[in-house]
Symmetry: C2
Subunit: 554 residues, 2 copies
């Protein structure tokens, strides 16, 4: 019997992590983990850095974990490792393609974790207990992305991570249709597959189609040529460097993520930098602007990115001047639009010309398969069951809809929530039990300590600030020994709100009058909070976080 458990990645797109289990006599004897990514907080999770999958289900089961496979080098597939690996067992063997291994080792190193990841290629078969895993080359917005064929005594599983069918990839490494056809012919019991872009009809464009747009952008630019894209998109960076070189521009890489990824990709042979056409940051200023191309991190408008700083001329090594051109070779991810527009507006105000998605639609292509490609994929693989992954519920549901005319029945599709098991036995799949998963928040150094209560407090303070009533109480006598103090922040403009705050002080004074001994402090506190909240709402229509605190004095 087989079990498949998504710990992340179904319904939330990011924080991808999947557990495959092989059972014998009702007992799990082998476990295989695929991917270990981070997630991104939604707008309600104020101040949160990132999310990681809740791996607590695996705690204590380390002995059965035969290995961990990483499918590709995006953060939502690998960047959970530094958090989760130490929670499990640092000695779990990890496998990945060459570039993915390079990126993942780098990610671990950033956290001081030295760990060799086993780089494998498509010719190898990795035997892990009852699982025999083979990789299969596909194309995506990061090179060296792999699908996994997972052979088990119960049948073949196919882990179809993020991909598209690019017939003319920049590095010439095409998706391995032949191997797909072959494993489809063998018979796939269950296909897990990316369907993030299923809402788009037809076929996604080839990454190499960007070249023409980049050439158009580079032509006739009088000043610096500045290109920004996702820093893991090595092929786009390759094309930008090549186009720059054709126009006699030397390239400089700016921004931690771009610099780091370029270094790894070049070392491993995934990026070919033209000789003498790459310069260091400090050299760039010495060249005439029309001889330089800056590839800069921050295409999503990230507030601390090099690009955002450059757009405000706060980046000292490259001052923006009229004649410079900024090319956004990446669409904003939904939710990032305002930040991206802010950066664009900043650049234009400095006199730079900016090319971006609203004006040109040929400066970005998606790395995910559209509906046409997914139809091809299903037709090629002929899986018995399909489990959509890496997408929201609406996308998984739409995928099921478009698979109907291809001959897939509604009950062949399993739309699983995170924590929901899929059980496969004797060729039949069915939903199993559902375990409760926590939203594990990383905030600063804290992993998992920020929960619902803290977020609710932050939300309340974000919207209306806070107000605290402080009541001094004698430790010995238990009596109120002073006037209550009302402190507010983020609520009202204190200078203009003297009257309101005096009213608030008086109100607290009537509930906890000076000199009296309050016998039930809990009750008094609740009364103060309720009545202050009411007073503030009536007077301002705002609802700050209200606290009542007793300070003991000797």
């Amino acid at each position: 019997m087989l079990k498949i458990l998504p710990l992340g990645g179904t319904g939330t797109v990011t924080k991808n992590m999947y557990v495959y289990e092989y059972l014998k006599g009702g007992k799990v004897i082998d476990r295989l983990i695929v991917d270990c990514g981070i997630g991104f907080p939604d707008e309600e999770m104020l101040g949160v850095d990132l999310l990681i999958p809740d791996a607590s289900y695996l705690f204590g089961k380390e002995k059965t974990i035969r290995g961990l496979f990483l499918t590709h080098g995006h953060d939502d597939h690998i960047a959970g490792l530094p958090y989760i690996l130490p929670q499990l067992n640092r000695n779990i063997p990890i496998f990945a393609s060459k570039l993915t291994a390079g990126f993942a080792e780098n990610t671990l190193e950033d956290f001081g974790i030295k760990k060799k990841i086993q780089a494998i290629d498509d010719n190898q078969i990795i035997n892990l207990g009852n699982f025999a895993i083979e990789t299969i080359s596909v194309t995506h917005s990061v090179p060296d992305t792999k699908h996994l064929i997972i052979r088990t005594p119960e049948g073949i599983l196919y882990h179809g991570t993020d991909f598209k069918f690019d017939w003319t990839p920049v590095d010439g490494k095409k998706p391995d249709l032949q191997k797909m056809a072959q494993v489809g012919q063998e018979g796939i019991l269950c296909l897990l597959t990316d369907c993030l872009r299923v809402e788009k009809d037809g076929y996604s464009l080839s990454e190499s189609s960007l070249r023409d747009g980049l050439v158009r952008e580079a032509r006739g630019v009088k000043g610096k040529l500045i290109v920004t894209t996702m820093s893991s998109n090595i092929h786009r960076i390759q094309q930008a460097v090549d186009v720059a070189a054709e126009f006699g521009r030397k390239t400089v890489f700016i921004g931690r993520s771009v610099e780091q990824n370029v270094r790894v990709a070049e070392r491993l042979g995934f990026l070919r930098l033209p000789k003498n056409m790459i310069i260091a940051k400090k050299q760039a200023k010495k060249l005439p602007p029309q001889k330089t191309c800056l590839i800069v991190a921050g295409s999503q408008g990230q507030i601390d990115s090099s690009l955002a700083r450059m757009s405000k001329n706060e980046y000292l090594l490259a001052q923006i001047r009229p004649g410079d051109k900024v090319v956004f070779a990446a669409d904003p991810i939904p939710g990032n639009e305002k930040a991206v527009y802010q950066v664009i507006d900043n650049f234009i105000k400095l006199g730079a010309s900016v090319s971006y998605h609203d004006i040109y639609d040929d400066l970005h292509v998606s790395g995910h398969a559209s509906a046409g490609e997914l139809s091809l994929f299903l037709t090629l693989l002929k899986p018995r069951y399909v489990m959509p992954i890496g997408a929201t519920f609406r996308q998984m549901s739409h995928f099921r809809d478009i698979a109907k005319p291809l001959g897939f029945d509604k009950k062949d599709f399993f739309l699983l929530e995170e924590g929901q098991f899929l059980e496969v036995e004797r060729g039949q799949a069915k939903k199993g039990e559902k375990i409760k998963l926590k939203t594990i928040i990383v905030d600063g150094l804290g992993i998992g300590d920020v929960g619902k209560i803290i977020l609710a407090e932050r939300r309340k303070m974000a919207n209306n600030g806070m107000a605290i009533a402080i009541i001094p109480v004698s430790e010995k006598s238990g009596r109120v020994v002073g006037q209550p103090e009302i402190i507010t922040r983020g609520f009202v403009f204190v200078r203009d709100a003297q009257e309101l705050l005096a009213d608030a002080g008086r109100l607290v004074g009537t509930i906890a009058p000076q000199g009296t001994k309050i016998t039930n402090w809990k009750e008094a506190k609740e009364k103060i909070v309720t009545q202050l909240t009411q007073l503030f709402f009536t007077e301002t229509q705002r609802e700050p976080l209200v606290l009542a605190m007793m300070v003991k004095i000797n």
Copy 2:
């Protein structure tokens, strides 16, 4: 001499408000205001309800204000009235087209302000001092939108508010090209014009092109048909009602804004509701679902909207069931994507089928002119000068770029920031002085009291919560008379942070030890705040708002 002053609407899209001034002998003798809209807070303005233009420049100048024109019924053009009119003078005559007047009166009434707005039509000339104003019909996403021809002794100004060229508008009232051609022939000195959609090539589609999509959506729906759109888009509502009626469905309007706008539009003859095909909310439940169409407010995923509540089955009069269909006949406005997607996902989880922008591109058309229409507009009007309005800086700048091949020089275009005067004298325009405008925030009942400091406090508390150190001090002796108390909210999970908070308490105790008399409290407070901030950052990598408060006891 003429002066034009944007108080809002240039660079920020919303909170449109423009002042036209006519001067004689260096003195302004007549002022005309066009529009008075609200703006929307950006993501950094936590908890803010809305923004209004800073009209303080006009305070004390009421006697010269001859009148106020409203161009169309969108909130970013009219909804500032209830805030700003009382600040100026309630007796200023206000003019608008019939529907715009109806919407504006309604908006004022919501704030208890009874004010008759003078409904005018295109045949009238309104003389206000040295200004003679005529309206000119255009098409937009709200009916009865008007451009203004403003004749002055210095020349003709053309106020081209939000519009597009719709040759087949739903109500048959086409843009008045003839009148445009005629005034262009007379000679326009300065054209102020919408250019929000200039980044799109070609021509925007007609509103009536939506019909086919709505018919496709209505066909074969087994349950309720639910349509959501912008509540001021009366023509889209008209089409939804008509299509529903054709399919034998009776329509019910749900949501305050939709109900209110429908009421006004119907009363004034801008919406023709088919007889016996409109039902009240309570009746809807009695009809079989396949006989009903619900037109519901909340197309932007607004958290408190009827649609959002319906998507969680919290709306009691209409429970969502499999077979129901929800049609989003409105694209998300940038920034609202996540909220809209949340609502879509909710509906799909309840088993409803949902049609939205990622799947169909024929369920929404823009109300703004694309680049092709703007080229036509410039060619027809032949203005001497152009001042783009109602758009961001990048759009105004792009408009200037595309006007170049039409024969407009860079110096014919004035890209003004809010508060920047344009001066026109003897046929020549030039930038004038720039006045400083405040960002006026409406938050609850407060207008303008929430400023930079409060917002900065909210932001800090939103990201990392707050921590307060409270030190009890004797009023008489001035000595510290108790242990410091550390209170936090939204910062750390208190139960797990005992050690950190104890450390913090000890730290405060060393700076303000019990029994000692602190001579310089300001210095002591600063020291406490600095050192606590440092301690917290080292231990958690978080930066809460840190306060030190002394509580006096007798």
